[in-house]
Symmetry: C2
Subunit: 346 residues, 2 copies
Amino acid sequence: MSKLTLEEVAKLAGVSRATVSRVVNKPERVSPKYRERVLKVIEETGYQPNQAARMLVSRRSNILGLIIPSRADLIFTDPYFAALITGISRACNMHDYTLALFVFHSQEEQDQVYQRALGTGLLDGLIVTADKITDPLIPQIIARKIPAVYVGRPLDKAYTSFVDVDNVAGAYMAVSHLLRLGYQRVATITGPMSSTTSMDRYEGYTKALAERDRSIEDNLVVYGDFTRDGGYTAMRQLLPHHPDAVFVATDTMALGAIQAIHEANLTIPDDIAIVGFDDLSPATIADPPLTTIRQPVNQNGMLAVETLIDLLETGPVPPRHTILPTQLIIRATCGAMKFNNGNYVP
Amino acid sequence: MSKLTLEEVAKLAGVSRATVSRVVNKPERVSPKYRERVLKVIEETGYQPNQAARMLVSRRSNILGLIIPSRADLIFTDPYFAALITGISRACNMHDYTLALFVFHSQEEQDQVYQRALGTGLLDGLIVTADKITDPLIPQIIARKIPAVYVGRPLDKAYTSFVDVDNVAGAYMAVSHLLRLGYQRVATITGPMSSTTSMDRYEGYTKALAERDRSIEDNLVVYGDFTRDGGYTAMRQLLPHHPDAVFVATDTMALGAIQAIHEANLTIPDDIAIVGFDDLSPATIADPPLTTIRQPVNQNGMLAVETLIDLLETGPVPPRHTILPTQLIIRATCGAMKFNNGNYVP
DNA sequence: ACCTTTTTTGAGAGCGCTCTATACACATAT
DNA sequence: ATATGTGTATAGAGCGCTCTCAAAAAAGGT
């Protein structure tokens, strides 16, 4: 059996190459008679067009790249990325795009990986998690005019499209909830301040306090690093300053904080109340179950892909920004339940 | 600035297209004089060859596909896959291959995803997690003669290359350890028996018992599903039959089992001892810390990639099988520590 | 100095596809 | 009967690269 090409199929169907191409790409533009005949041959031979040839002329690969500029070992253990990748891959499947994954495991790998992702013209577009605001990646993407959508707000709004959740509002909601419940010394464990996500959540914290004329006490603000261990360490720093409630910027860190609180023989929420952020698996596994801010991570991922595909198909357009809402999920760690027979009415 | 092609670079360097191509691909076959000149132009212009054109003629894409035939939501929350993907992506980076990810979220998506992965000729080769032994994927891959390496032993050894850990030996080690410590009623929570991994671990369990002339008690064998909840449910089924030790086929399930034991107001290891399998994050997070079998997941992933690349470069060769060893990691749940002032000497 | 061998360069074909421009039916209008 | 239009098929160019093969240049031998 000779190599199965368009040419071959055309010969077998007794039509020209172009006709077969049309049957494959825009079947409605071929008369039913020929279309049937060609489809039959395709069916029989199991013909599938060569991607490379197709890419070469059409300049489209139907491959999207996902770049996650964080250390790979952190990425895959973090339930946030798990949910995000799930959403992204799902949307890719839905739209018949293939997903290529770009992560690096060391600083040295970074350049080489970026090169591969940006340089080869292999990818139609890029989804980038806008993790570190100083990452050299974003300027490169802009300079090369590669279609990209960021997950999370990058600093540069003018030249970038992104999808994000309303972190400020979410954090504000969390802290307001604690204040409303009467807590006096509301602390926060933030993420690394090199990410806009952390910045925004911190802003929500300050906003909620400011709105009630509370001042920010420096001792009650500790910087974490998004990991469980980081949350643990941060909480231990916080304990000597006797917070009666803590807004922890991620559920994963909250898990560490809870451990630190338990080890100090304090109870949650009676001695210290906790509100987290994310509402992913750690929130329900936590003991007691975590009051938290739910963010639609999965949906965010899907939306990023859909935005990107839209950008791809409609050509250069002004950057598009989508902000999804968050939601307060009340469980046991904020203490709201105990005020009202286990039913909290805001 | 006109389109940056080989042609263009050749013109700027005052050489032929072929020479530039040679500089890019096999620089040692070009005289230093020309090589320098061409490299300089490449440097200045930032030229990068078009992947599509390259693929078309060389029939190589430098893209590997990773197919994980499990529900996507399970994959990304499972620390096993986290470690595996980390290893795989790392090896891909090292060898300058791009990784494309193929997962599906529903049964309907499956076919379409397989089609995309197998049909388009886009991929040089495939890494497949040999999860479900009945998956239609493997026969398809064999039929199409697509270079592939499986992670985990597939049923068909004759036509497949794979890397795996020695699950039989690992499980045997775990159960022997428990028996040596004197436990009388050693139960097991297995994985789903549709996977060779689960089959092998169960075989190790039976082998250890048989070797000591213990019979397998049906009540002490419960089938789990690799999830934490599954482990919890399985343990609750087991409790009425009073096991004094349990070999749980994965750490994640062990987490659920531990929860069930605690809820029954039993203590670990005094009332029931536990040995897990994997030694990934759940093992150290567990309370008490989990005695388990360490398997080199990360390394396994890297090895899979390296085997595949080797296959790709050396052409059709007989299938290659690699089995990595496992290791017993003694922590608190097996009770070994308490026999000897916290120091276990086997 | 000339011929042979070896190394290096260049010309040209062609990978499999898409797409534009052109040719060709066939139906309808003149 | 010829002109006009409409839909549909084909011819042919070309996407950017690699690779073979022949030509040219350099090196070595007598």
